[in-house]
Amino acid sequence: MSKSALIERSRRSERLPSAPTRRRSGRRTGAFWVPWAFLAPALVLFLLFKFIPMGEAVMTSFQNVRPFLGNQWVGLQNYNALLSSDDFQGAVWHTLLLGVGQTVGSLLLGFTLALLLEGQAKRLWFVRSAAFLPVVAPMAVIAEVWRIIYHPTGDGIANQILSWIALEPSQWINSPDSSLVSVMLVGIWRGAPYDMIIIVAGLVSVDRSLYEASALDGAGPLRRILYVTLPALRPVIAILLTLAAIRGMRVFTEVFLLTNGGPNGSSEVVMTLIYKLGFERNQLGIAAAGSVLLFAATVALTLLIQLARRRKE
């Protein structure tokens, strides 16, 4: 069956009164305070343990922080120190590259995994659990393992794999040219199972009758995925993109443990820079300023994604 017919079919089924409709927005039933009552526990906890500390942190971004002697007000000095740092631009660029690369890679690989591992069979449970391990392993241990995999000689595991596809051994995390890509691969390795789980949950929720209908129309698996599965997964993909944007800006631990931003700043990201200029030098005010900047950037990015989503709907 043709592509347009399939689309028409799924649209039609949405309009039929007997078929379930996708709710666009809720309806106003009950007292106005009901939603707030449901939200209250979360909001109160957020206020106490996130927003109040954040307020303090924002204040300290304008101060020279001396925990014992008392803070001194320095205005925008901390922000200046960060923005005028030579490494700042590079760090921003690397953060973007790493973020986009990891997001796209994890999403593609995660989607593939989810497709392959969807189903109820017991052996699939086992494979899914095995694939999930990277998500639950402590980052410190993952870093150690990958450092071994990335051993720069010809005997290193990664280099051996390269030799199967007739490539020269790489220095991986030890060279400025390949350090960012090496970190990205680890991020994808960890991110794909993460995305896979959420996508599997989404796949489970896809209306099976639509698959039946498309098969009746003679559509093969590829068509099915493109015109039934993907549209149904839109909300899931939206979550994943939002989360990926947030995670991407805040990437820190894997870079810190594998390369610490090196060599020569080739894998420096914003958070490692904040760590170096702020925490390592005991300049908590600078660290706070960096965090505020990062927060603002993340908010902006997320708003963009939400707007794009609104537009599409």
Binding site: F51, T60, N260
Partner: protein, 447 residues
């Protein structure tokens, strides 16, 4: 109605966060704290060791012995990872522990934050018995003392004697012979099994400044200097001087010319290198005596020799480190603090903390010159470390905060060994610029 709720909520949130922020204007603490009655004074002591470790055990013994000797009750805690965060937490509450046993290199940092009480060596009983060199580790940029030395150590070369014999070399007496020895390890099949091994193991990561910390001995011995001290507590950067560039060149040459370092050095830390030495993947490792016990087990006492590193072009200087007993500011138990400091440097205190031949000693090389190491430890190699310390030991420069300099120099060295095409003089010049800027930021720039 509809929009009011959300407006109220948002304003409420913002107000709460703003109010919270306003409360962080704390007043300076610890100006003059009311003292407890002498007989009721107690001490809270922190040391920078892993909880539950043998060092923790020895620490508890130290606390107990002190309490028995003086009648002062002690609460002794071992804290390791993110020690700094916990300390800052307490500092922000204005409630520091009474005593902190910590690195000598942390002195400047803690002093700048106002956390330390100044020490008058003359006022500490038994301070005259403390080795003069040890006091260097307790001195700040202003020439005054802010800690009481507790333990000292320096580094020596742990070397595979079996490999050396297999390649037919003698104990190296100068740097040329040293490098040749390492080259022989890397290329001459010292294990006899054809296994690929490296000459020298160096933790080359920038994390915690490891690479710089681990090669300072070579840097100094090779003619390098970090700063010139103008005598009044102000400094100028010396890392772009001829001697410094030559020393950095030599260190870089270990990778780029002679290829004697372990592969992947630039991303490895001390734990990695220790494992490499223990599993026979590197032939030499420059490290302090606390590893004697582990290396006696693996690779084994019979194949490891501990030698003083041969002198370089500028003689032999080895990195001296140690711990000080810091008396923290704002304590209500100042008399008890002083009692502990005096006891800790006494022969009794040092002996308990040395813990004989057991694991987890808090005092490696005693700072009290009256303590006879040979009576307390059966391993004669400790004496070698002590001699090395007294003759060639050198502490890190007494700038207000050494950490940023350690980290920048680590970045530069790591960059140099990761990219052999870079020019050493250029990179050291860049480092010089960073050093000068940092000195200025710390208010310690001369001229």
């Amino acid at each position: 109605m509809k929009s009011k709720i959300s407006v109220i909520l948002s304003v409420g949130m913002l107000a709460a966060t703003a109010l919270a922020g306003c409360s962080t204007g704390s007043e300076p603490q610890g100006s003059s704290v009311k003292q407890n009655e002498e007989t009721t004074q107690t001490l809270e002591i922190w040391q920078r060791k892993a909880p539950g470790s043998p060092s923790d055990t020895v620490g508890q013994e130290v606390a107990k012995a002190f309490s028995e000797a003086t009648g002062v009750q002690v609460e002794f805690s071992s804290i390791l990872e993110d020690f700094e965060i916990k300390l800052q937490q307490r500092a922000s509450q204005g409630d520091l522990p009474d005593i902190v046993i910590n690195d000598t290199a942390q002195l400047g940092n803690m002093k700048t934050q106002g956390l330390l009480r100044e020490i008058e060596p003359a006022a500490i009983e038994g301070s005259d018995k403390i080795k003069a060199r040890a006091w260097d580790g307790a001195k700040a940029a202003d020439g005054k003392f802010y800690g009481v030395p507790h333990t000292a150590q320096t580094v020596a070369l742990f070397n595979r004697s079996d490999w050396r014999k297999n390649v037919g070399a003698e104990v190296p007496t100068n740097w040329d012979e040293l490098v040749k020895l390492w080259e022989a390890y890397s290329t001459g099949d010292p294990t006899g099994t054809g296994k690929d091994v490296a000459g020298l193991g160096v933790p080359g990561a920038t994390k915690r400044g490891y690479i710089s910390w681990n090669t300072s001995s070579f840097f100094w011995s090779g003619g390098g200097e970090y700063f010139k001290d103008d005598g009044s507590g102000k400094f100028t950067s010396e890392v772009a001087s001829e001697g410094s560039v030559a020393a950095a060149q030599w260190i870089r040459g270990l990778v780029c010319e002679h290829d004697v370092l372990q592969p992947g050095a630039g991303s490895q830390d001390t734990t990695n290198v220790k494992e490499l030495f223990q599993t026979g993947a590197v032939g030499s490792y420059l490290v302090a005596p606390y590893e004697l016990a582990s290396f006696d087990l693996n690779p084994g006492r019979d194949v490891v020799e501990v030698i003083a590193p041969p002198a370089g072009p500028a003689g032999l200087t080895t990195l001296a480190e140690g711990n000080n007993v810091y008396l923290m500011a704002g304590s209500a138990n100042e008399l008890a603090q002083e009692k502990f400091a005096e006891w800790a440097v006494s022969v009794e205190g040092q002996t308990v903390a040395m813990a004989g031949d057991r694991e987890g000693n808090l005092v490696r090389i005693p700072v009290n010159s009256e303590v006879d190491m040979s009576k307390l430890r059966t391993d004669s190699r400790w004496q070698m470390f002590e001699d090395l310390y007294e003759k060639n030991g050198r502490y890190v420069p007494a700038v207000p905060n050494w950490a940023p300099f350690l980290n920048s120099s680590a970045e530069t060295l790591n960059t140099l060994i990761s990219d052999c095409s870079l020019d050493v003089a250029d990179e050291m010049k860049k480092l010089d610029g960073k050093f000068t800027a940092e000195l200025e930021a710390q208010g310690a720039l001369a001229g």
